[in-house]
């Protein structure tokens, strides 16, 4: 580093040295300042263009064709894929399953996450240890979880059914029954994500000033009242954030139902598609039936559904626009 120029002449802006004539180094430096920012942000835009924007548009294009995998001469068929899709009972079944599994997972998950956050927020001994313990499932891969839970929920020798019988209940055929399979898959999802969401809620809870709680306590508010009148309203933005992220994730659920099948490797989502989700159906259409056009139509409908839900959330809150990230400096 050159030490000579350490003191910039008075009145000059940093970095713009007021030399009598622009030297080559000076020009180079100005060019550096101008161009560098674009170079630094370029990788994201290039990668997003290739794997985000282009696929989205190209999926729309492919969805207008009868396009078999490996086929070099796809046939343009307009909106026929979409017409077929809207008349396809398997698609509606998959959509119902997806929403059912999503509701069964996200509602209990949010409630338990808040309870856990409240517990973790008290002045615990070994607080970090408890937090790490709760978060442990987050480290597991979905594939491992899928395989392990498929085993635990096995109809014949599964541990869950063993326990049910031990306490005098009837065993459930988790994979064959529609509701049972949804519950089992929802438990898988919850097992992985509840601790994670609890930490996010906990962070928001800790940002609530302690004085508010003390004031409420002095006003004679009990624990429940303090929770509903102080904690809950201040948590609202965080709860909305958690809901949006789990909605987007939940609508794309794939790995859990794929690995839960009694016929491993199958993409049917059970013998009568009882737990086939939209993404699993998409995968089946594209990579088992090689019908890329039809699968693209599924992808686009799913994308539109996700956008609509995100938009509704956005309009309900108007919060995204006001996050500090977007705020002008």
């Amino acid at each position: 580093m050159t030490v000579i120029d350490k003191i910039a002449p008075e009145g000059s802006k940093a970095g713009e040295r007021t030399s009598p004539r622009p030297t080559f180094r000076h020009k180079l430096s100005r060019w550096d300042v101008k161009v560098s920012p674009y170079l630094y942000i370029a990788p994201f835009f290039i990668v997003f263009g290739i794997v985000g924007l282009f696929p989205l548009l190209y999926t729309a294009y492919v969805s207008l064709f009868k396009w078999e995998a490996g086929d070099d001469n796809p046939v343009f068929i307009g909106f026929d894929n979409f017409k077929e899709l809207f008349a396809d009972s398997q698609f509606w079944n998959a959509l119902t399953n997806t929403i059912s599994i999503f509701l069964l997972s996200s509602i209990p998950q949010l409630i338990i996450a808040m309870l856990l956050a409240a517990l973790l927020g008290s002045r615990l001994r070994g607080a970090t240890g408890w937090r790490v313990g709760i978060l442990l499932p987050y480290a597991a891969s979905l594939v491992s979880i899928g395989i392990i839970f498929a085993n635990l929920f096995g109809p014949k020798y599964g541990l869950i059914n063993d326990v049910l019988q031990l306490i005098g209940l009837d065993p459930v055929d988790w994979q064959a029954s529609r509701f049972g399979s949804h519950v089992a898959i929802a438990i898988m999802v919850n097992w992985r994500w509840t601790g994670y969401n609890a930490l996010i809620v906990l962070a928001a809870m800790q940002a609530i000033p302690k004085e508010l709680h003390e004031a409420a306590l002095i006003d004679g508010a009990g624990m429940w009242r303090r929770f509903t009148a102080v904690t809950l309203p201040l948590l609202k933005p965080t709860l909305i954030f958690v809901t949006i992220t789990s909605t987007i994730g939940g609508l794309q659920i794939f790995t859990e139902p794929k690995l839960f099948d009694a016929m491993p490797g199958s993409n049917n989502g059970g013998s009568s598609n009882q737990f086939q989700t939209v993404t699993l159906y998409l995968y089946q259409s594209a990579f088992e039936n090689y019908n890329l056009g039809y699968a693209s139509a599924i992808a686009w409908v799913l994308f539109v559904i996700i956008v609509i839900i995100a938009l509704v959330n956005f309009l309900l809150t108007g919060r995204l626009a006001r996050t500090p990230a977007v705020k002008k400096k």
């Binding site: 120029d5 550096d32 994201f44 290739i50 696929p55």
Partner: protein, 285 residues
């Protein structure tokens, strides 16, 4: 009156003090978190006969290494492990580097269109890239990349989340004075990034690295689509292990144990930072 007052003062003082039941409930949740891992190790360390016993054993048996070695015979597990390390390692390096660079630009540099471009990045966070697998698959096939590791690496070189995360941290962590001082010293922009910015944002970069590594290691759908059974990542190999006509659970769960142990160790070593990272991200995002 005084008794009420002292009672109130006492309850204010004990606000947030845990009861015994709190520890019990948390202990149950931690056990619940651990149990599936333990169960998978239990089955992996015995043989399939254990699953048919009316009361399953509580302690591991001695067959884990035998089952584990069968995993290596059934699928190319060494190769899968090596592939996962290469993919996750590369993706982590490039994501952290490119995200820090873009984060630096968005946080501290002046250029036209900055705000618009940043809003665009935030919006793309909501675009589910999962839905783009068909054209991406077509593109990879046309490029001749399908089956190769580059098909898994290239789409993940940098993420919107990473840019967003690094930008948020850089805003506070890097004072303008430092940049100006370096400029006065005649540093080029890239040198300022490397010698001034990067050291200042190291904690955030470390957290991003951990998240990226875990996410990449556990990624499944896209590798399943684009890689074949001969050249899998760990997750794809696991799925192949399970998808026979007859499921040999001791074998399959030995596989899941093998795949989980490394990431579990990493998690336990860095757990404190990961927890801090999630909570920090929650407040900032």
């Amino acid at each position: 009156m005084t008794t009420i007052h002292s009672g109130l003062r006492k309850s204010v003082a004990t606000l947030g003090k845990p009861r015994k039941a709190t520890y019990w409930v948390l202990a149950i949740f931690v056990l619940g978190s651990l149990f599936p891992f333990y169960w998978s190790f239990l089955v992996a360390s015995r043989d399939n006969g254990m699953l048919t016993e009316p009361v399953p054993p509580i302690l591991p048996g001695g067959n884990f290494f035998a089952n584990a070695s069968r995993v290596f015979d059934t699928v190319p597990f060494w190769k899968a492990l090596a592939n996962s390390v290469i993919v996750s390692g590369t993706v982590t390096l490039t994501t952290v580097l490119f995200s820090s660079l873009a984060g630096f630009a968005f946080a501290k540099l002046r250029f036209r269109g900055k705000n618009g471009l940043f809003v665009f990045i935030v919006v793309t966070l909501a675009v589910p890239t999962q839905l783009g697998i068909i054209p991406l698959f077509i593109a990879m096939s046309k490029l001749g990349w399908a089956g190769g590791l580059q098909s898994v690496i290239v789409p993940n070189l940098v993420t919107a989340f990473g840019v967003f995360w690094m930008r948020q941290y850089t805003v506070d962590a890097l004072p303008y004075e430092l940049i100006e001082a370096a400029r006065v010293d005649g540093c080029s922009m890239i040198r300022i990034f490397w010698n001034v910015c990067l050291p200042a944002v190291r904690p955030a970069a470390a957290i991003l690295a951990m998240f990226t590594f875990m996410m990449s290691w556990n990624d499944f759908l896209w590798p399943l689509v684009v890689l074949d059974a001969g050249n899998p990542t760990v997750q794809v190999a696991l799925e192949k292990l399970q998808s026979g006509y007859y499921v040999d659970y001791s074998l399959v769960l030995a596989g899941t144990t093998l795949a989980t142990i490394p990431i579990l160790i990493v998690f336990l070593l860095l757990g404190r930072q990961i927890v801090a990272g999630i909570m920090q991200g929650a407040v900032k995002g």
